[in-house]
């Protein structure tokens, strides 16, 4: 038989191809995918500095309302401090510099200075310092989503590798890993996060990690691997005594071949779904941690810091920051969650 004959043989669709074609028919799933991709593009643009890089600039008046509300004209916006009411005393006869004022004013007037006009309204409104809420929420998206994704990837990687080894080999190695797992899970999740946060805040690593998001990613990744470990370990234990793995052993496949070529493709859909679930969980955790001041450093913005500012603004009647942050976060998390559900259904339609 020639080579062309081999090509001519019919090829059936594999798991991923089938999942994709099932996903394509799920309208909710495709919509969520589209929304998620929009956000990802936005995040990438923000990362590259093409969008929202100037979020820190105070381009508006303090608490500038959104465009559709319009300028606040009732005087409640002005932060002007009332001047001293009193007799206007002329002290020019004792003031030694008095003769020079006119000259200075004239010289100063010759220099062009740029005074940025502070807008009275901004697309999504402004915060207390007059910063553009839209830019903040986009930048915040970049930070929160990046942290969520990176931490989820880290946790998934750790959990999968450890779970595979523990589930497949069992024995002493499995016992050791179980011990580590027990130690980590004996400590309540939040406490471990707090302990790590406390340590990384004031310890020697604080300087190397330089604040920034990486300490947060490490904290979440180091605490969050346990759930995936448990699942992957259970899957590997289930599969290792399945007959197709036995058959692989019988034909002489090595341990590595059995673990990665045989079992892993049968487990990867579980891992993918777990990864997605953890992304959502970590984003929400980051928001809470940043709110408490334990997350991103002060000079960065995330949805959490926006909520923390918004807490005080609400009683003043300024609601645009909290609405913007909540809306963006809710949209992304909803889309991503629905995408995860659709993905899970597409990969294993029996589970309903």
């Amino acid at each position: 038989m020639t080579r062309t004959n081999l090509q001519a043989l019919p090829r059936s669709a594999g798991v991923w191809e089938q999942a994709w074609s099932r996903l394509r028919q799920d309208r909710v799933g495709m919509a969520s995918l589209a929304v998620t991709l929009c956000f990802i593009v936005l995040v990438l643009l923000a990362q590259l500095g093409l969008v929202a890089s100037g979020w820190q600039m105070e381009v508006g008046t303090p608490f500038a309302p959104p465009h559709f509300i319009g300028k606040i004209t009732d005087g409640s916006q002005s932060a002007v401090v009332a001047g001293i009411d009193g007799p206007n005393v002329d002290i020019s006869d004792v003031d030694p510099l008095a003769p020079r004022y006119a000259e200075w004013s004239e010289r100063a007037a010759r220099f062009k200075t740029i005074v940025s006009a502070k807008s009275d309204t901004l697309p999504f409104g402004g915060d207390q310092l007059g910063r553009d809420v839209l830019s903040k929420v986009v930048k915040g998206a970049q930070v929160s989503i990046t942290v969520g994704l990176a931490a989820a990837l880290m946790a998934t990687l750790i959990g999968t590798v450890l779970g595979a080894v523990a589930g497949y080999f069992g024995g002493r190695v499995g016992d050791l890993l179980e011990w580590i797992y027990n130690v980590f899970t004996a400590i309540p999740y939040i406490l471990l996060v707090f302990a790590l946060a406390a340590v990384l805040k004031s310890g020697p690593l604080a300087k190397t990690l330089g604040g920034g998001v990486w300490s947060l990613v490490i904290i979440l990744g180091l605490v969050g691997w346990t759930g995936i470990y448990r699942l992957v370990r259970a899957e590997y234990m289930k599969h290792r005594s399945r007959e197709y793995v036995r058959a692989a052993e019988a034909i002489g496949a090595t341990h590595a071949a059995r673990m990665f070529s045989h079992i892993l493709p049968n487990v990867s859909h579980v891992v993918l779904v777990q990864l997605s679930l953890h992304v959502v969980g970590f984003i929400k955790a980051e928001v809470i941690l940043s709110f408490l001041g334990l997350g991103v450093p002060i000079d960065m913005v995330s949805w959490g810091t926006m909520l923390s500012e918004a807490q005080n603004e609400l009683v003043l009647g300024k609601w645009w920051q909290i609405v913007a942050a909540t809306a963006f976060m809710a949209t992304f998390v909803t889309a991503f969650s629905l995408l995860t559900d659709a993905l899970r259904d597409a990969l294993d339609p029996k589970l309903r």
Binding site: L6, L9, E243, A247, A248, I251, G252
Partner: protein
């Protein structure tokens, strides 16, 4: 005589997403009072769905045809209100299911579950219910019934669990008992006891029984009427004598014929028009290869213990295999027969070194296999191969057939390059009767019998000398079994293969094997030539096994 239940033009289909799959396509039969009607068919025949339609215990996505009727007592059960149907279930019509372990509620005691049905239909509570439950347990033959009342399902053996299910079913003296493959999940000796129990109960209470099975021989012993189903339609129906002695339909004839007969040894088994035409279905007897001077495999004193954890410090051992000797010769088949717990599967694991023996030696080609380390053993793996029982689990669902066949060749460096290996794979696929089209497909696209053939092809890629068949045909339908058995025999003739053929089915083992070992609780209780063992069993257990084999109509006549 007026039938108890009349099923007329039953059509059932299942809604799966967008499509609809027809399971039953116009089946009609009448169930008489005071006798047993058997529904016989293989998987996919629609027998269970038909029976479950009577009590409307179908899944939510089932649709019955508009013209279908099931008449009982003048009422059409398919159109009855849910409440009146509920009143019938457990009282007029009860069901015994196939798997007693999962059919019993794990968190309630046996007594509580029997008392429940007494409370619903007969209004018995507390002490009277308990006493009646006790009587029922006694009637179904459970020993120490007073203690068993407080037992949970998992504390009973399979046979006892099924007796409890039967007790619940007959508690309210039903007019019809539907038994859905009640013995399929049980050992063959237990099967016989349950069959006798059912027959006795039916005669004593004069109830009608609808008995569902895939085993025609089994059915022949208990039924007075038989309905044969295939793919949702009735192929033949009538009194049992007619079915067995003068079958009209080709399918019925094939069903009767393709079981390996106990008293003859044809060269090949007849099959039901499958892709491999049998070479010769005519009379000539199968001849075994001659016994060579030197055995191919010599095993001595094989023992395997599994540690059990019991108590704080004690560790007791489960002795799966207790010191076994056997020999295998080239070109011949060594059959191993036994029930669950006999150690026969452990033997398969030991020979292929998928598990290590606690003691003993296995000599093959001048070396003791038990002394080899992993790297040395790899070279021998290609020479001793195994086909597992479950065709749905022994192939990696994520590999294509091409990848499955390619892997062993890549490991043992057979074939010069990927193309060469692909060509060899396709040649083997032809040999086992699956075309080259199978190369790019995934296992889930094939039936059970086809998957076993892929597994056989996988073994053949390595040109083994010994193949261990560990219950390789037990999970297959009878007609498909014959095809696979024929294939194994063809390959044995062509390549001079030696088989270790393991099964709980004495008829199949007797047909396939040249020498037999009978195993019971880890020991060989009898060994010898199949004909001799059948004609003149020495050990009590062997006799018990032989008695348990369903013989069909001839035995009860």
């Amino acid at each position: 005589m007026h039938p108890l239940i009349s099923v007329q033009d039953l059509r059932v289909s299942f809604r799966m997403g967008q499509r609809s799959v027809e399971a039953v396509r116009g089946v009609s039969f009448d169930i008489p009072t005071n006798s047993t009607l058997a529904l016989v068919g293989e998987s996919g025949s629609g027998k269970t769905v038909s029976a479950m339609s009577i009590v409307r215990l179908l899944p939510d996505n089932a649709l019955t045809g508009a013209a279908s009727k099931i008449l009982y007592n003048g009422q059409d059960l398919l159109r009855a209100a849910p409440e009146s149907l509920r009143a019938l279930r457990g009282k007029d019509i009860s069901v015994v299911f196939q798997d007693p372990m999962s059919s019993l509620n794990p968190v309630f005691t046996v007594g509580e579950q029997i008392a429940e049905v007494l409370a619903i239909h007969l209004g018995l509570r507390a002490h009277p219910a308990w006493e009646r439950a006790l009587e029922l347990l006694d009637e179904v033959g459970i020993d120490k019934p007073r203690e068993r009342l407080r037992a949970y399902a998992h504390e009973l053996s399979g046979g006892q669990q099924q007796r409890v299910m039967i007790a619940m079913a007959i508690a309210c003296e039903p007019k019809l008992l539907i038994a859905d493959e009640p013995t399929t999940a049980l050992d063959v000796t237990v099967q016989r006891q349950i069959m006798e129990l059912l027959a006795r109960l039916q005669q004593r209470s004069k109830m009608g029984m609808l008995f569902i099975s895939h085993d025609l021989a089994l059915v022949g012993e208990i039924a007075s009427q038989v309905v044969v189903l295939r793919e949702g339609t009735v192929r033949e129906a009538g009194p049992v004598a007619g079915i067995f002695h003068a079958p009209q339909d080709a399918y019925t004839r094939a069903l009767l014929a393709c079981r390996p007969p106990l008293d003859a040894r044809p060269r090949r088994l007849p099959v039901i028009g499958d892709t491999i035409p049998p070479k010769e279905t005519a009379a000539p007897r199968r001849v075994s290869a001659a016994i060579g001077a030197v055995p191919l495999v010599e095993a001595r004193g094989l023992r395997k213990d599994y540690p059990l954890r019991a108590g704080l410090f004690r560790r007791s051992m489960l002795q799966a295999v207790k010191g076994i000797d056997f020999e295998m010769h080239k070109g011949r088949t060594l059959g191993v027969v036994g029930e669950s717990g006999s150690g026969k599967t452990t033997l398969a694991m030991l020979l292929t070194r998928l598990t290590d023996p606690s003691a003993g030696s296995i000599r093959f080609d001048g070396r003791d296999l038990t002394l080899l380390d992993a790297a040395q053993m790899r070279a021998y793996r290609s020479r001793i191969q195994i086909i597992f029982q479950n065709p749905y689990a022994s192939l990696n669902p994520r590999f294509t057939v091409g990848q499955i066949l390619n892997e062993p060749m890549a490991i043992h460096r057979i074939g010069s390059d990927a193309d060469d290996r692909a060509r060899r794979s396709i040649a083997l696929l032809d040999k086992v009767g699956l075309g080259s089209d199978a190369f790019g497909k995934y296992p889930h696209e094939f039936s059970g019998g086809q998957r076993q053939r892929i597994a056989i092809a996988r073994c053949l890629t390595m040109r083994p000398e010994i193949i261990v068949c560990d219950e390789s045909v037990s999970a297959l339908d009878v007609s498909v079994q014959a095809t696979v058995l024929n294939l194994l025999l063809d390959l044995q003739e062509e390549f001079g293969l030696s088989y270790l053929f393991i099964s709980h089915d004495l008829a199949v083992v007797k047909y396939m094997a040249d020498d037999i070992l009978v195993m019971h609780q880890g020991e060989v209780v009898e060994r010898g030539n199949p004909g001799a063992i059948y004609a003149n069993p020495q050990h009590a257990y062997t006799r018990q096994l032989l008695d348990a084999i369903p013989r069909g109509l001839s035995a009860s006549a």
